[in-house]
């Protein structure tokens, strides 16, 4: 197997009496795209946020690129981990351009580099030139989501954590972006974790799939493995639901 970029070791998390994650141990392969799918409220976002230290596991530990995530060094590590939060989370006081390029400016990128990367991302995500100086409140839902994605990718991080990044996009735009993403993935090799509810998207963009159910891993494997040998009824239902299964 390939080397891993994130290792979850015996991760447990609960809120009050309710346990959300039950001692999960698994790893995410490096240089591949892994899709995490599963029920709403099953802990997908929580798992993602443990990889960049926003959520601290109750028991167990998470390592990214072989170093353990802990509060001491996490700020530096985060620069290598792009993250787009579920629901955009843009800074309301910053323009689209400022939202996307803030971290690059803070990292003292040259103006030219910043402009180039910004242009590249805006094109990649099918965003209009004239959004540049607009503020988040004036963007449509899908535009906000894409700007958030640009922000996550700005620093060309070797690891991308994307929490339902395309959920607010229409199918046509989504298709175009999927194609671009696949191209990009070949150009800039990187690891990517993608939380999604679109099984078609999962199978198209990802090489590995993790199915989460009720705070446990239902199945983990390559796309083909999972599509061909669903480990449980739930996994099968997932692929059948939403019409895709009709194919």
């Amino acid at each position: 197997m390939t080397s891993s970029c994130i290792e979850y070791e015996a991760i447990t998390k609960s809120y009050g009496a309710k346990t959300i994650l039950h001692g999960l141990t698994f790893s995410i392969a490096a240089n591949l795209t892994t899709a995490i799918v599963g029920e709403s409220g099953s802990g997908k976002s929580t798992l993602l946020q443990m990889a960049n230290g926003l959520v601290v596991p109750e028991k167990g530990q998470v390592s990214v690129f072989s170093s353990i995530i802990n509060s001491g060094s996490v700020t530096a590590q985060r620069l290598k981990i792009g993250y787009s939060v579920q629901g955009a989370g843009l800074f309301p006081h910053l323009s689209v351009f400022q939202n996307i390029t803030l971290m690059a400016t803070l990292q003292k990128w040259s103006d030219a580099d910043i402009q180039n990367r910004y242009q590249q991302l805006m094109q990649l995500l099918e965003l209009d030139e004239d959004l540049r100086d607009r503020y988040p409140f004036s963007l449509s839902g899908g535009q906000q989501q894409r700007v958030s994605l640009c922000r996550a990718m700005m620093l060309k991080p070797p690891l991308l954590l994307l929490d339902e990044p395309f959920s607010a996009l229409d199918p046509v735009t989504r298709d175009i972006i999927h194609a671009e993403f696949l191209k990009l993935q070949q150009a800039e090799t990187r690891s990517m974790v993608l939380v999604t509810h679109d099984m078609f998207e999962a199978t198209k963009l990802a090489q590995q799939i993790i199915v989460l159910c009720d705070g446990r891993i239902e199945q983990q494997g390559s796309v083909a493995e999972i599509e061909n040998n669903p480990a449980s009824d739930y996994v099968q239902a997932l692929f059948r639901a939403g019409g895709q299964g009709n194919a």
């Binding site: 926003l54 530096a76 985060r78 939060v85 989370g89 800074f91 309301p92 006081h93 971290m103 503020y135």
Partner: protein, 512 residues
Amino acid sequence: MPRYITNRFMLVFLLAISLFAQSGLAQQSENPLSITVGSKNFNENYLLAEVLSQLFEHAGYTVDRNFGMSGTLIIYEALRTGEVDVYVEYTGTVAQVILNNNDNPSLEDLNAELLSQGVEMMSSIGFNNTYALTLKRDYANELGISTISELAVQPDIDMGFSIEFLNRSDGWPGLVENYGFTQQPVGMDHGLAYQAIDDGSIDVTDAYSTDGDLDRYGLLILEDNLNFFPRYFGVPLIRSELSVQARTIINSLTGRIDETRMRELNGRVLLDGKSFNEVAVEFLAEEGLVARVDNANASSTGMSVMWSNLWRNTAVHLQLTFIALSLGCAVGLPLGFAIYRSSRLSRAMLYIAGLMQTIPSIALLALFIPLFGIGQTPAIIALFLYSLLPILRSTITALLTIDPVLKRVAEALGMTRVQQLRHVLVPLALPNVLAGVKTAAIISIGTATLAAFIGAGGLGEPIVTGLALNDTSLILQGAIPAACLAILAELLFELLERVLVKPHMLVGQLPT
């Protein structure tokens, strides 16, 4: 467009300031037939000095007005050393304060003593400005009294006196001794006493006999039938080398203004809101001393000293509050940012800042003398301490109420603590933080008057002096610029907010 507006605002603002500054610089000039007239810093003395000045101007003199000097010793020293040629003094003061080596000098001794210092006393202008007891004219008629002796035997009289009058031996204690009062007066601020008498809260209070307020309130002065109160006749003091011509001009005022007349003239300034210049012009015309002509061109220079005082006080006031507020921000903002995450630390700091807010200012200043001496430093530090609470509290609360999702995102992007502050927390908290800073600024401007207690100057100086002298015009010379400063501060903060906070971050009417 907003930047353009900003720049224009700035321009207008700077222009206004520089004009204001220039108006404060009194123009000096030299002339063979020239004279310097001085005055003390209260209305009556200003007015008499202006009358003298205009008399001289009509005789062809160039007059240098050196008005508004504070304290008898200062203006007398100015006369002695030739910086002032003439000013109006009061006989009681001459004997008591200026010439202090003689118990109850004869007029001759007094004049000799003055002459030895190069000074001469001219004949009295006529009025005696001393303490007086006063009550509503109507009420006096009702009681059928007109002398203090008659008042002393009225049983049901409510009396309110200034604290000073209550304590001076030539005030209440002496009255009790001489007239046998048995009533028990209450002490109150002199300025408030007039209002109280008008209101019916008290019946009798103390006053100066030429006070312009007396007519306003329809007050009668009771005759001091036992001649208890000392005499304070208004007399011009001059330098003895003054020419005969100048003396003649000054003497044209001799005996011309009695108490009633003086009160009425003071009232024109105090009640009718006329300028000293206007009243002087009117008076000279009424007395036939000067035809009522060329009113306009004599006007502006007369006030130049008042303007320069006003400008200096305002500048000091501005400086005090600006430094104190800057310190308040320099300490309060970083402190707030440093501790807002810990509710225990926040509370502790807010308690401390709150305690400092309740320490009476005089006590706080007292604590500071061993540390910082007297003058501006302790005043600034006190103002700084008073500004801490609003700044600190609004900073902490504003930071606490920022959307936690955005705080989380800022962390996730890999920003350092400082970068989070600079680029996310501060901009998002800014409107509410600014609200606290603005409040602190306005409160500072209001309380900077305490600087006057400790010799630091500022607009508190005319206010405190005005309150002591019951001189409304002086109070206003402090209060109005302070109010203007408050408006100015609001405008500046609005500018600042316009530059720092995007309009869409402050949504009143929802955009549609």
